[in-house]
């Protein structure tokens, strides 16, 4: 482990900063920051999950927001029926999420390229309409959650405790993925991305590995959705719309799909840009301000196009590549 390489110190600094944020928020009397960064970390977790198959296996899933919904509604529906135990809710979320990912994965992974992208989008949309049609659970309006998941050992109703629980999940996921990408399994996925035809010719039955990878990546999004429902105390079909799936892809690419930590950087930047654009009040031109605040999505759109045309390796990816070039020189 090269301690001076950005591969180490950038993630380390980020995580350290995230770890100290609640302290800063308390000192600066801005409790809002804890909520903001809780949300950012949740999406960082989801983007990390997506990137396991996007960046490492080359599978462009445009439907991962579906699994955010599964996690969120597991909390919502069980809470609605009086089951407030966090362990049970999490178990339910993972079981449903796992089965769904297995079923959907078995269908979508038989296709490739643009068709794969299109049908992952279609299945996520199916999930969205399914949830909207469940009037008993709020339908289009979503479902309010009275109490955050009860875990016994710690109380998620405390914003700071929830924050650290989310941070813990993020760090755990990072650690897990760092092991997995170098394992036999990870090498298979990476080989599939690099040259699937050769992987088959070498003797790898690639389908089963892609399927397992897909399920793992989906489950990480399920956990993210679980945490999101706890943060907002709300489960909504809006967590599952195609734009969210697209946002996750943008976060992964923006940060750097080819790296482990990239999606975290991407999520932070994406959501902070979103935050700034939608609420900036520099005070000079009130009319432009208003337009900006209401139509910031257009700027996001241009931002996304610019990334595609310009910043393909992602911001963190670029940093890492530059440093490894310098190391060789």
């Amino acid at each position: 482990m090269n301690w001076t390489s950005p591969r180490f110190y950038v993630p380390a600094l980020f995580l350290l900063a995230l770890g100290l944020l609640p302290v800063y928020a308390m000192v600066a009397s801005q409790p809002f920051y804890v909520t903001l960064f809780s949300r950012i970390m949740i999406f960082a977790l989801a983007a990390l999950g997506l990137n396991f198959i996007l960046g490492y296996a080359g599978l462009v899933s445009f439907g991962h927001a579906l699994y955010l919904g599964v996690g969120a509604y597991a909390v919502g529906i069980l809470s609605f029926h009086g089951v407030g135990n966090g362990w049970l809710q999490l178990l339910a979320a993972l079981v449903v999420g796992g089965l769904l990912a297995l079923l959907i994965g078995a269908v979508v992974l038989r296709t490739s390229g643009m068709t794969f992208i299109m049908i992952t989008l279609a299945f996520a949309q199916m999930g969205y309409f399914l949830v909207v049609s469940l009037k008993a659970y709020g339908g289009d309006d979503g479902l309010s959650i009275e109490q955050r998941s009860a875990f016994g050992l710690f109380d998620l109703n405390n914003h700071t405790v929830l924050y650290y629980a989310i941070l813990f999940c993020l760090v755990a996921a990072l650690w897990l993925f760092s092991r997995m990408v170098e394992s036999r399994f990870g090498m298979v996925l990476r080989g599939v991305k690099s040259n699937e035809r050769r992987m088959l010719a070498l003797g790898f039955p690639t389908f089963r590995y892609k399927l397992v990878g897909y399920v793992v990546s989906a489950q990480v999004c399920v956990v993210a959705g679980f945490l999101l429902a706890n943060l907002t105390k709300f489960a909504s079909p809006s967590y599952m719309v195609w734009q969210v799936s697209g946002d996750l892809i943008v976060m992964a690419v923006l940060g750097g799909m080819g790296t482990l930590f990239g999606p975290v950087v991407g999520a932070v930047i994406f959501l902070m840009v979103e935050e700034v654009l939608s609420s900036v009040k520099p005070g000079w031109f009130p009319q432009i301000e208003e337009v900006l605040n209401r139509h910031w999505l257009a700027l996001m759109g241009i931002f996304v196009i610019a990334i595609v045309l310009g910043f393909r390796k992602g911001i963190y990816g670029y940093v890492v590549e530059k440093s490894s070039k310098e190391a060789k020189a």
Binding site: S183, F185, M187, V188, G191, N195, R197, L200, A201, V212
Partner: protein, 251 residues
């Protein structure tokens, strides 16, 4: 002696074109059987059907006593059929060693291991290093494949195929794009492998074919027009007219 691989009446059509026209063919264990023929004769199509990437319309393929006509590409590799490609199919993002380690890994049990770093598994590293040394890339193990020269890609291509421990090698123009010197080295390498593996060698390089082959089959418009020892083929008038004649003009 029963053949290691035998093809019976293989047919493959693409619309109106018959790319493989009732081909009968066999290779014994340890035999080098070369396939030659003019461009467009259907050599790569034949190899693809043997490897499982294309499915024949008619006919049977038997390998090591089993009918593999319906077997998938990975299944055939696991049964002992190793293929190398005319255009190197390597993993450009990985080092040479990682490339070959993947090949070893494919035949070293399942890959549902999630925590142990593959790079530290002696069972993967050992055979991979050996294969690389065997093809002459012993000093280039940690070089990223993308940074290697074309000739080294061909060597790496072969190393990967060898590392899967095959019984039969399907070599599609292993010397494609190589310089004279590189080709001679490759021929020497293949000579060292003779006898240990059955080989189907598709090649344009006649020196290589005559140096290595035990038998030669000539493919023209999807049909085998002649099969025999290299000398028999060299002296076969039909073959000369159809194919070698053009080659001699080229020389």
């Amino acid at each position: 002696m029963s053949a290691l691989l035998s093809i019976e009446k293989l047919v493959k059509r693409f619309g109106g074109l018959t790319a493989t026209d009732h081909v009968d063919f066999s290779v014994a264990a340890g035999e080098v059987h070369a396939i030659i023929g003019p461009n467009g004769a259907g050599k790569t199509t034949l190899i693809s059907q043997l490897a499982g990437e294309l499915h024949p319309d008619e006919g049977r393929i038997q390998f090591d006593g089993r009918d593999i006509s319906r077997a998938s590409v990975p299944e055939r590799s696991l049964l002992g059929l190793g293929r190398s490609y005319q255009i190197s199919q390597i993993f450009r993002d990985f080092s040479a060693l990682q490339n070959v380690m993947l090949a070893v890994q494919a035949h070293a049990g399942h890959s549902f291991s999630f925590f142990r770093p593959a790079a530290r598994e002696a069972a993967l590293v050992g055979p991979a290093e050996a294969a690389l040394k065997q093809v002459g890339l012993g000093q280039r193990m940690h070089v990223p494949a993308a940074a290697m020269a074309h000739g080294e890609h061909r060597q790496l291509e072969l190393a990967m195929t060898l590392a899967t421990g095959p019984k039969l090698l399907l070599l599609d123009e292993p010397m494609a794009g190589m310089s004279q010197a590189e080709s001679e080295e490759m021929v020497q390498l293949l000579k060292n492998l003779k006898g240990k593996y059955g080989m189907i060698l598709v090649e344009h390089d006649m020196d290589a074919v005559f140096a290595l082959a035990d038998r030669v089959s000539v493919l023209v418009y999807g049909r085998v027009v002649a099969t025999g020892t290299p000398d028999e083929i060299r002296n076969n008038q039909d073959v000369k007219d159809a194919y070698l004649g053009d080659q001699q003009e080229a020389i």
